[in-house]
């Protein structure tokens, strides 16, 4: 288990965090390679289905990152998203997913340092929890 590395799905807003990832790369910053980034147009586009699908298909952690409040490219997408995320996070933890598996952040395109540090933070939080025990979908088989 010592060698185990978590797989984390990162949903990153095109207008900020995705740019921060670019900048972090250009700046040769070091951060763990565990996050598979998926570019989304805005955190307002995040559907709960995306997060659930990632968890169902075996993601050890999910991270959603968008623009700081007030900085949304579409003016208010992240404000709406913030409410959806709050309820979502509470519900999924209420149903027995560990609190450290789902993360949210606001990272502007200039904040490459915050990007790298958040990746580290998210990765180590997920890593600390170990592999998922429940809720990963396998093809269903019944042989009765």
């Amino acid at each position: 288990m010592k060698d185990w590395e978590p797989r984390i799905v990162g949903f990153l807003c095109n207008w900020c965090t995705y740019g921060a990832a670019d900048l972090a790369g250009i700046s040769r910053m070091q951060y763990p390679p565990n996050v598979k980034a998926i570019r989304i147009p805005c955190t307002g586009r995040m559907s709960p289905k995306f997060i659930l699908a990632a968890f169902m298909k075996g993601a050890d952690g999910v991270w959603v990152s968008g623009c700081h409040p007030g900085d949304c490219h579409y003016l208010e997408g992240n404000y709406y998203a913030r409410r959806k995320f709050a309820l979502f996070k509470n519900l999924i933890e209420y149903m027995g997913i560990e609190p450290g598996r789902l993360h949210f952040s606001w990272i502007s395109s200039a904040e490459s340092t915050k990007f790298a540090s958040t990746v580290k933070e998210v990765t180590s939080a997920v890593k600390a929890l170990g592999p998922r025990k429940h809720g990963i979908k396998k093809a269903f088989t019944v042989n009765s």
Partner: protein, 315 residues
């Protein structure tokens, strides 16, 4: 309850006769104990079918979705809140409706009463305070308040929040109710126990979708469980799929659920599906001070925001 029924009939007959509505949606007497059937009547002569008693737990707002007629609708507190939600969400227009409000003393829990008796129940009668349960070889009187549906016991909006007519005098609302004791109990559990709790809760689920379909909030033209590209949820009895279904069903009701209990009442397997929606209801109240369906002038919590909404969970 007979005075309720008489008044409902009287109002319905009048509305139909004066052609203020084309139909009245209400309940008619069921064919089995503790069940009534939602129905419509279109002529003053037919209003004799209508009844009101403690078995009218189905939420009639469900029957308004996308209807175009002028409708008279019988509405208890929770129904009226879902009618408000329907109007806000453009599923029906206020002008189409004549709401016959019924101050509600609570609906009885069919599953609970059934499980109290070894033998089949053949008849259930009621008066103001009591429920009289009769079988072939037994008869027992129960205190109605002891056998109310869970959601009715903790209801704080028994009176219709919106109505054009009233079938009875308004009731005093229940005070000092702790609505979320059971939710807090789960919140306090360890993660693993939470997982186990819901695993056990959902293990009898047969994916019949009665909970979804009994809910007036569930009217998406294509439900996410029916989407095929991509297919978000598998169709088998896989527990992960079942859990995902219940999660999303509840989440779709976030900020809209009135805890009418129709989902739980409809479940043929007796699953407490309100355990999901109640958590969201609690959070909406605590985070956004929101109770669904109380006002036509406010947007539901996920359709609005405040710049200073809580965000301590965000890095």
């Amino acid at each position: 309850m007979s005075d309720y029924t008489a008044k409902i009939k009287e109002i319905s007959a009048r509305l139909l006769k004066e052609e203020k509505v084309e139909m009245v949606i209400g309940f008619r007497k069921g064919t089995v104990p503790m069940m009534n059937e939602p129905c419509f009547v279109k002529t003053p002569e037919d209003v004799k079918e209508l009844v009101w008693d403690s078995n009218c737990g189905i939420n009639l707002a469900n029957y308004l979705t996308d209807r175009k007629e002028k409708i008279g609708i019988i509405a208890k507190g929770c129904d009226s809140r879902n009618i408000v939600t329907h109007i806000i969400e453009n599923k029906v227009k206020r002008e189409q409706l004549l709401i016959i409000g019924v101050p509600c003393k609570g609906m009885i829990d069919k599953n609970k009463i059934t499980s109290m008796f070894e033998n089949e129940i053949n008849e259930v009668l009621e008066d103001e305070e009591n429920i009289i349960v009769k079988g072939k070889v037994f008869e027992k009187t129960l205190n109605k308040n002891d056998v109310l549906q869970e959601n009715c016991k903790i209801c704080i909006h028994r009176n219709p929040v919106i109505s054009d007519e009233l079938a009875a005098d308004l009731l005093d609302e229940q005070k000092d109710i702790d609505r979320y004791e059971d939710v807090r109990k789960i919140e306090a559990m360890a993660t693993e126990d939470k997982w186990k709790y819901f695993e056990d809760l959902l293990s009898p689920c047969i994916r019949c979708y009665a909970c979804r379909n009994a809910c007036p909030l569930c009217y998406c033209p294509t439900c996410f469980v029916d989407e095929s590209r991509p297919q978000w949820v598998g169709k088998s009895l896989d527990p992960t799929d079942t859990r995902t279904f219940h999660f999303l069903r509840a989440y779709h009701c976030a900020g809209r659920c009135t805890d009418c209990g129709a989902c739980e009442r409809a479940c043929p397997m007796g699953i407490k599906v309100r355990m999901f929606t109640k958590k969201l209801e609690k959070d909406c109240l605590e985070l956004y001070g929101w109770e669904a369906g109380l006002s036509l002038d406010e947007r539901p919590p996920l359709d609005t925001y405040r710049p200073n909404d809580p965000e301590d969970f965000i890095k």
